[in-house]
Amino acid sequence: MSIEASVFQGLSWNVPADVRALVSYHFMVNALEAGTAVAVMAGAIGWFMVLRRQTFAGHTLAVIAFPGAAGASLAGLPLVAGYFGACVAGALALAGVSADRTGSHSRESAATGTVQAFALGLGFLFVGLYHGLLNGLDALLFGTFLGITDGQARTLVAVAAGALLVLAVAGRPLLFASVDGDVARAAGVPVRALSLGFLVLLGLAVAATSQITGALLVFALLVAPAATAQQLTARPLPGLGLSVGIGLAVTWLGLALAYFSIYPAGFFITSLAFGAYVTARVFRAVRTD
């Protein structure tokens, strides 16, 4: 038996049959639906995040999702409320930290790091207080796409649609403010309000994503497709499209591979995303030579 056969069970290399097998289970349809919504939203918002150099803030928000979910399960609230509540609260806290104009950039990132570690510490405390959640802890940190309910999938689609709508309306001024904040401010663009709004939007995207990928792997969908797209093109619209496209491809392929294999989806999604990024860098290096 070859390694391939033992790792990928039930994969026949007959693509239509494989796809039919994939969508024959209701949980897989839910996972693909939720994954699609998340990939589109993360690709678009991630593009702005990479442009604004807010990767550290994005990662911190992602991590805050974990204590939110753990706290919600401790208090008996629905997990979704915990994810969204914590991430939006985290976005406001980060905006407060960065609004503190007395500090330099490095102090600001140190404060961000402290917020992150404290949030994780809280999450660990909640998990400890809520006994017997060790397997749940794995799911919170690394995600599970097997148990997505109809309601969850619908919520994710609704959130993604809302976020994209906001982005479509505020996209132009946000782009202006991200590329050149000073000129934008002089031109009357509300830079501060936009920056706060963007952090909240990022919090929403992260909260939605972490339900699928787990708090620790959100980053793969948020940063890697966007970074890949920005390696390939600097123009906004093609870049956004490319970022969303890469996110979709990575998510679909990752979920499909995970379905046929014994290994977790998080591994396949992150590896595919990283592979795309490396390929883009190599491609760019070759082209500029």
């Binding site: 490095s106 990132s109 140190a110 790091g113 570690a117 510490g121 400890g128 970074a227």
Partner: protein
């Protein structure tokens, strides 16, 4: 409290690991490499899980991955400063690898549970044996000695790399060496407070010291003292209230210190302004 051996071991390891984190953390904040430290902590997690999955000693996995990745990150970027997006993409992937190793481990061992991962992620300072604690102390002392020996040129290279390079300071080499030391400290601290929380011990005391101290050496001493103090207070808190895990208690104390320092720093900088306003012209 000191009657228990696990408590003595925790204090021994915690003191030295805390001192190393505070000392190195001061430079991390000064050089704006907090995100790199964050990435290293996650990389340490993947390394430890890889070691567990393949049946190697956890410490080997921790140190090997943290130091190799630290130097690799430094080598990628200009002047041993990798950019955030590259770091983010690399460590998202390495975390994904960590998940794979976790899956390999849990499918291979029939006991199949997440305890090993939890220990790595959130630390187990009360579970350290006497020899674990001595090794932790020795590694920390070595890291402290290396940092102190290079403190002067490192300050120079961090504050003004161009002038330092013109003066013949090996800026790039210092940057690489510093990242390697940071990797070793991250690997060691992973065992004490866990891969996910060590960022707090690196960033919070240092950020507090940066707000309070004007002179670099005072700041260095303050940062070290804050980190050690946070470890001691956190351990004592967790001993008194057993439901609070030690790593959570330590990070909470460190965060509180930063909040107090930020408040104090703002009050101190507001004071002269108020005095100026009060004095009649």
């Amino acid at each position: 409290m000191f009657a228990h051996e696990f408590m003595r071991n925790a204090l021994l390891a915690g003191t030295f690991v805390g001192a190393a984190c505070g000392l190195v953390g001061y430079f991390v904040v000064l050089r704006a490499q907090v995100f790199a430290a964050d990435a290293l902590s996650h990389v340490a997690f993947a390394g430890a899980l890889a070691a567990v999955a393949f049946g190697v000693d956890v410490r080997v996995g921790l140190f090997a991955t943290a130091i190799v990745v630290a130097v690799g990150m430094g080598g990628l970027g200009e002047r041993a400063h990798a950019d955030d997006v590259a770091i983010g993409t690399v460590f998202a992937w390495i975390l994904g690898l960590g998940v794979l190793f976790l899956a390999i481990f849990t499918t291979r061992s029939s006991a199949g549970n997440g305890t090993a991962a939890v220990r790595v992620l959130f630390g187990s300072i009360f579970g350290l044996s006497g020899s674990d604690a001595s090794i932790a102390a020795a590694v920390s002392v070595a890291a402290i000695a290396a940092t102190l020996a290079a403190a002067r040129p490192l300050f120079f290279a961090s504050l003004d790399p161009d002038v330092a390079a013109a003066q013949g300071v090996p800026v790039r080499l210092l940057g690489l060496g510093f990242l390697a030391v940071l990797g070793a400290v991250a690997a060691e601290a992973t065992q004490a407070v866990g891969a996910l929380l060590l960022l707090g011990l690196v960033a919070a005391p240092a950020a507090a010291a940066h707000r309070l101290a004007r002179s670099p050496y005072v700041g260095l001493a303050l940062s070290t003292a804050f980190a050690v103090g946070a470890v001691w207070l956190g351990l004592a808190l967790s001993y008194v209230e057993a439901r609070v895990p030690p790593s959570t208690a330590i990070i909470s104390v460190a965060t509180l210190l930063l909040v107090l320092a930020a408040g104090g720093g703002r009050a101190a900088s507001a004071l002269p302004r108020r005095l100026r306003r009060a004095t009649p012209r």
